[in-house]
Subunit: 409 residues, 2 copies
């Protein structure tokens, strides 16, 4: 884009003045690779590339801050375009006002979104707008939509994936019409949901798969759900996945964090912070998994698990916004409209709540007994020195601790 | 730093114009938090903060590119300082020329390095100079140096950590003098090497630890090495870790990638690319682990494992520099002076080499039979369309395939 490099040529000239070679981070070279879309160049460009990335933006205003934000997005895209230069991907900016007609035709409706066109599919990227996240997202998109599992070690690899939705099917061969339907279905969800397949009898046996069976694995559940009425058409598979897309426990991922956050339940999220690489965090996550397994049939429950390690830049912001200490595990309710929140009292990370205690607390959240509005006044007498201004004196409901004996299984 | 915000106020004004709250990425607010060090302000500032981050840089030259690079580092530091504002950490720039005397006193010797002062320790950061990596590094530094393992679930968490060095000790209590020595030793390696301890008999039994025993775990090895001659002083522990710090198989990590890369063996690295979340990559890593276990006593062998997922921005650079396809596993030898490299031929990712084949290949590398100089002419007849200019006609040694029968165990 003209103008961008006048502003910050070399902002991405990153730090690689070393005597050794082999680890040179890319440096934005100031070359314009992202072009503005017009009805004229669109046809030409879409023929040229297999994959198109289109940033759909509101008209650039005269406001200085908005301009800077826009330029920053341009630079991120330019860097991504440069890094992926030899992968044959087209990058374009789409002005929502100037190109309203074309945007409508392409089905773009959310300004500020990045859309990726691959064949006749449109994929919306709704994650962290950072060069590394975007590059990984796009690389995942140009891989095969289905991973084939050939042997026991690869079954292990498949089984280790527990924190995201996955599907696996057993088919006769790559030429099977049912495998082809499965592959087509996979493309609807690539790269957000992983599809696996096997053509190997011993692999199928290990995973208890019958011919043409497709199993759906909810995150963190031990047992898969076989999709009923095999064999399946593409449409049946797509419909099933869409229906089961919101799990009981889901990990917040940089590549679709905003989409997950927008998928709230009645304006709130139950949010759990746990650092998996930390013993306390691991322990807390294991307890959460237990709770999720016990309550997998409850459609009103979807806990968002956040591993602070995935979002270093947000840790301090969350600590401040939610008034919590993220060096230890936390679980709370967050109102997504104003980020008001209330958190379970975990006095000591050596004494985490049991699965039962967590379930009682969650039940109180779902019934509304614990909610973000009642708790604007702290109900415990901790002497924290927060400079907390909204500490006004509502009635103290003390909703955390009392009256939790209606579920004493 | 004065001037920085004139240049790019708002460059880090990131993209958070959403209706929902709770995921707002920090935006550089243009406020100067990073100060220039002088002999005068150093005393004052070092009293004020528990932790000091000092970026030790060569004098800013009149060269435009160098200036931009310097400004970019300043902005990264400003953003880190802003994000960690309430954590009470001081950020400073140290001009190598102007403050030569003080720098010498502080023991700074590598221009372009970031040094962190914590108490009387100096920690050098030699990783990816990006805000998220730096923030995570600093947060890890202000945690306790030793993690305490209290129960079975936490033992599981401990056991799951396999891709980095870890130590664990069993002590009577927090007041034990041997625990205190262990804690002091941990501070020497924080946050690069993780130290764990337990005071719980059943945990100790599960890990086969005797009182005051400290076990050292090399990455990817099943069995730990008990550090001899317990109980240990701080110095004994530090010495032992330093001696065993280079493992047979090590993961390249953003937080110390340059340090790892500089720790080459005779100017080369054996580098393996494997994406752990991918079935083929997982399988290849398992084979590598087997090779590492079989050869853990060979001091000349240290394979650098790179998971491309950890470095999205480098994937395309590596593919271009090394002329390989990173959608599948790869292993090769890289000359760190010029990034010249030669890669094992893996024709199909469904047919990965066995541990034995890998060992034969590695033996050929260590003996010099396979090396980066002989292979400047491709020894297979692939018809790739690289615009490769250095395809000059040296003798073709074909060193990959012949003569590998001297190690037929």
């Amino acid at each position: 884009m003209k103008g961008v490099h006048l502003f910050v040529v070399g902002v991405y000239l990153l730090f690689s003045c070393r005597a050794e070679e082999g680890l040179n981070f890319p440096t934005y070279d100031g070359k314009d690779r992202v072009v503005s879309l017009t009805e004229k160049n669109f046809k030409q460009i879409s023929k040229k590339y297999d994959l198109l990335c289109l940033y759909y933006h509101e008209p650039v205003s005269s406001d200085k801050v908005a301009q800077k934000q826009f330029q920053m997005k341009e630079i991120v895209l330019e860097l991504v375009a440069q890094v992926l230069e030899h992968k044959d991907i087209g990058f374009m900016m789409v002005d929502a006002k100037k190109e309203a007609k074309l945007a409508k035709k392409l089905g773009f409706d959310e300004e500020g979104s990045l859309y990726i066109l691959k064949g006749d599919r449109t994929i919306e990227f709704d994650g962290e707008f950072a060069a590394d996240v975007l590059v990984e997202f796009i690389l995942d998109l140009i891989e095969d939509p289905v991973e084939v599992i050939n042997n026991k070690l690869e079954v292990q690899a498949f089984e280790r994936i527990e924190d995201q939705i996955k599907l696996i099917g057993f088919f006769k061969s790559e030429d099977s019409e049912y495998y082809k339907a499965f592959e087509e279905a996979a493309e609807h969800f690539q790269p957000y949901i992983k599809f696996f397949a096997t053509f190997d009898k011993s692999v199928a046996k290990k995973l208890s798969l019958k011919m043409n069976e497709v199993d759906f694995y909810e995150p963190f559940m031990d047992e898969p759900i076989p999709i009923p009425d095999k064999p399946h058409t593409e449409e049946e598979l797509v419909e099933f996945v869409k229906e089961h897309q919101r799990p009981t426990l889901r990990r917040l991922r940089p590549e679709d964090m905003f989409e997950t956050w927008e998928d709230d339940l009645n304006g709130i999220h139950i949010v759990a912070f746990a650092e998996r690489s930390d013993p306390d965090g691991y322990e807390f996550l294991e307890i959460l998994k237990q709770v999720a397994r016990d309550n997998t049939d409850n459609p009103d429950l979807s806990i968002v698990w956040i591993d602070p390690d995935d979002f270093p830049l947000l840790v301090a912001y969350w600590e401040k916004t939610f008034k919590i200490d993220l060096f230890k595990p936390q679980i709370g309710v967050v109102n997504v409209t104003d980020a008001d929140s209330v958190w379970m009292e975990i006095s000591d990370d050596d004494d985490l709540p049991t699965a039962e205690e967590l379930e009682d607390w969650i039940e109180d959240v779902l019934s509304g007994k614990i909610n973000t509005e009642d708790d604007d006044n702290d109900d415990d007498d901790d002497d924290d020195d927060n400079d907390d201004n909204d500490d006004n004196s509502d009635e103290d409901n003390d909703s955390d601790d009392d009256d939790d004996d209606d579920d004493d299984e």
